[in-house]
């Protein structure tokens, strides 16, 4: 697993996503190596099974954008080849075409996904519940959003439908985006530890790429389920 720029993008408990992925592998006896990637470090995305990209404050986001711009082609190739990616908030926006600021300036993104973001005056903040389909089953996922950007999808599937909260842009009722094995979302909270279905989905996808054909061994998720149910009961 590659965790991109953890020393830079350490807002909002994003590292919880990394912990959840790694723990849930190890609890099943699957070896996992978490590599923390720093700015400028030489890496090949071909070596990764799962790549996590979080968000940060404006200054840190600019540093990350500059660094990833230099790796753009490599990342695009990996995504086309099915690299499993989770991008949250700022990382999500960065994969798109551009971010338009309030005064109309367009900051180019990596252009890997067909989406764009424009800044809004009000930040969209609060608890969110999303309904999404994973492996043909409908699941409810909860998290917390905090973003000024409004993201609009082109020829892309959203991650899910907003049941409570604002989602991508507060207008169209959708949250996140999906393309190949790339999953984007505005939900932190963090997303993976309590929403185990998502965490296990990433593990399964990553293993499948390595030729693993077995089902994942189920774990006792009673704490996680209770945490999700508490929030669903409250916000729906």
């Amino acid at each position: 697993m590659f965790h991109l720029y953890p020393d830079l993008l350490n807002l909002y408990g994003d590292r919880g996503n990394v912990m959840a992925f790694a723990r849930r592998c190890r609890w099943r006896g699957i070896d996992v190596e978490v590599r923390q990637i720093s700015l400028g470090e030489k890496v090949s995305f071909k070596e990764a099974d799962f790549l996590f990209l979080g968000g940060g404050s404006d200054r840190e986001q600019n540093l990350m954008a500059g660094d990833l711009a230099a790796r753009k082609e490599q990342l695009r190739e990996a995504v086309e080849e099915g690299l499993v990616v989770l991008a949250i908030c700022g990382g999500y926006q960065l994969l798109g075409k551009y971010y338009r600021t309030l005064d109309g300036k367009e900051i180019p993104g990596l252009g890997i996904l067909d989406l764009y973001t424009r800044a809004g005056r009000e930040r969209l903040i609060g608890n969110v519940a999303v309904e999404m389909e994973i492996n043909g089953m409908t699941h409810r996922v909860v998290g917390f959003e905090n973003h000024a950007g409004r993201t609009f999808l082109g020829d892309l599937k959203p991650l899910g439908k907003v049941l409570a909260g604002r989602g991508n842009n507060g207008e169209d009722g959708f949250e996140g985006a999906r393309y190949n094995n790339v999953f984007c979302s505005y939900l932190h909270g963090p997303l993976l530890p309590k929403n185990t279905v998502l965490a296990d989905n990433f593990i399964a996808l990553a293993l499948k790429r390595r030729g693993w054909r077995e089902e994942l061994r189920p774990l006792d998720d009673s704490f996680e389920k209770a945490a999700v149910d508490t929030m669903l009961k409250r916000i729906l």
Binding site: L8, Y12, G16, I125, F223, A227
Partner: protein
């Protein structure tokens, strides 16, 4: 205007009275809100009457403790009336209420000093109304992000507000680059406090660390050591920004049970022993900040030391209780850095076995986003083996806390979730430990404290029970 002024005053007083008789709305912002609504300039009018000095404490952690310490020092040594907003009522409404409470029926004030803790985001609004003579900035950590946006913005707010103040003196934490930069960017006369290097410093920073980059040139700051989080001895490789020379420095800090101590070096000269009946190294920073303010007000070091030696913690700032002869500690937690400090205290308490209660709410005052729990290093608990009896998780986000502990490597069978505070407090107290340690977020703190004081006795640290100054000289060498 005078009519509206008095009307505002009386309306707020009435709201305070109603809150007191009905016992509801403790720490409510309503009286201040009412007064500001009726007469928006009421705070300006009241603040102007302070005769000698207004001291404002802002920053992320330690505001209440530092402000209470300062008020103690000023009250003990200057003798005259001090207005203070106690117990975290630190928005403009709380500050206004503190003045109203102290005012006479026609709005007259007889106070020489005001000691005010002010929330970072409220700071610009408050100092537009009242003009502080001294501003203390304790530290900047990420806190309740969903309310403020991001930390950079909070710092910019404070910075811009400070620049507009004419004759202010600053008391700044030298060890926190985010705070220390304020001396240079505002150009205001500044006194710096900090801790000297000691054997407990670390070579690496924690995960929750802020401020990796120079605020002036953006280069990555180089640290020779860390005290905790981003506090430490830093230097920018790209420009001349570095930890400033301290005016008030704590040397040889020690944490001994329920007492912290150090020697205070003033302007690289004389050393004075200092002892404060509180726990945790971070409280030494609060003590050094208070010392600095005392020195700026020309109070002698003996007076400052004896005030601090008699310091009583406010609600939930490591408050002590006794339950069937066993000690119970209650501590407020509100952000990763404070929580990490709380955990390191928890690991060092002198007990065989500790019952732990963690109460997490997500109301506005707690921060609605609880993802900060994932920036706290709970992993330190998993290595402590038999030290902990049970972990009781409570509050509106009790389950979230349980999940966090699980992923930190704490065994699930040692975790009990009881969302109800009363059940949670009773279960924790009845645990197998010879001591209990309670951690609660802001809005969970009040109910937990109320319930706890029903079962356990509050332990008062009376001034005479605090070791005398001569005794403290011995213990700090």
């Amino acid at each position: 205007m005078i009519v509206r002024f008095i009307l505002a005053l009386w309306a707020a007083r009435l709201a305070m009275f109603v809150a007191r008789v009905t016992g509801r709305g403790k720490g409510s912002s309503l009286p201040g809100k009412i007064a500001l609504k009726i007469y928006p300039r009421i705070l300006k009018q009241l603040g102007r009457q302070i005769k000698k000095g207004i001291i404002v404490v802002t920053g992320t952690n330690g505001k209440t403790t530092t402000n209470n310490m300062i008020a103690g020092i000023v009250g003990d040594n200057k003798g005259s009336g001090v207005i203070i907003n106690r117990e975290g009522a630190n928005l403009i409404t709380g500050v206004t209420a503190a003045f109203i409470r102290a005012a006479g029926p026609f709005g007259g004030l007889h106070a020489d000093y005001a000691c005010l803790e002010v929330d970072e985001a409220s700071f610009p609004g408050v100092v537009r109304e009242i003009t502080p003579d001294i501003v203390v900035v304790t530290n900047f950590f990420r806190d309740q992000l969903d309310r403020y946006g991001e930390l950079d913005k909070t710092i910019a707010l404070v910075k811009d507000a400070l620049k507009k103040l004419d004759s202010v003196r600053l008391v700044l934490n030298a060890d926190d680059p985010l705070v220390a930069q304020l001396g240079r960017v505002t150009g205001k006369p500044s006194v710096f406090f900090g801790l000297a290097r000691h054997p407990g410093v670390s070579g690496t920073g924690s995960a929750a660390r802020e401020a990796k980059f120079c605020p002036f040139c953006g280069a990555e700051l180089a640290y020779s050591y860390y005290q905790y989080s981003q506090l430490g001895n830093y230097k920018c490789p790209g420009c001349e920004f570095a930890r400033p020379q301290t005016d008030v420095e704590g040397v040889d800090p020690g944490v001994d049970g329920m007492l912290v101590s150090c020697r205070v070096r003033f302007r690289q000269g004389n050393m004075y022993p200092l002892q404060i009946p509180v726990t945790g190294l971070y409280n030494l920073y609060n003590g050094l900040a208070a010392c600095s303010v005392g020195l700026l007000l020309d109070i002698d070091m003996d007076g400052i030391r004896s005030s601090l030696a008699g310091y009583l913690p406010a609600t939930g700032r490591m408050e002590k209780f006794l339950y069937r002869g066993k000690p119970v500690l209650l501590n407020l937690v509100k952000n990763p850095t404070g929580f990490n400090e709380g955990l390191s205290t928890l690991l060092s308490v002198p007990a065989e076995r500790v019952n732990v209660l963690i109460a997490i709410n997500d109301n506005d005052a707690d921060g609605r986003d609880i993802s900060w729990l994932w920036d706290v290093d709970f992993e330190v608990l998993s290595g402590a083996g038999e030290k902990f009896g049970t972990f009781v998780c409570s509050g509106r986000r009790a389950w979230e806390m349980a999940v966090r502990l699980k992923y930190a490597g704490v065994r699930e069978e040692t975790v009990t979730v009881l969302e109800d505070f009363d059940q949670a407090v009773r279960t924790a107290l009845e645990g197998t430990g010879d001591m209990s340690y309670f951690l609660a977020t802001y809005t969970a703190l009040w109910p937990v404290e109320r319930i706890l004081s029903g079962y356990a006795q509050r332990e008062r640290t009376l001034p005479e029970s605090v070791p005398s100054i001569s005794g403290s000289v011995k213990s700090v060498r």
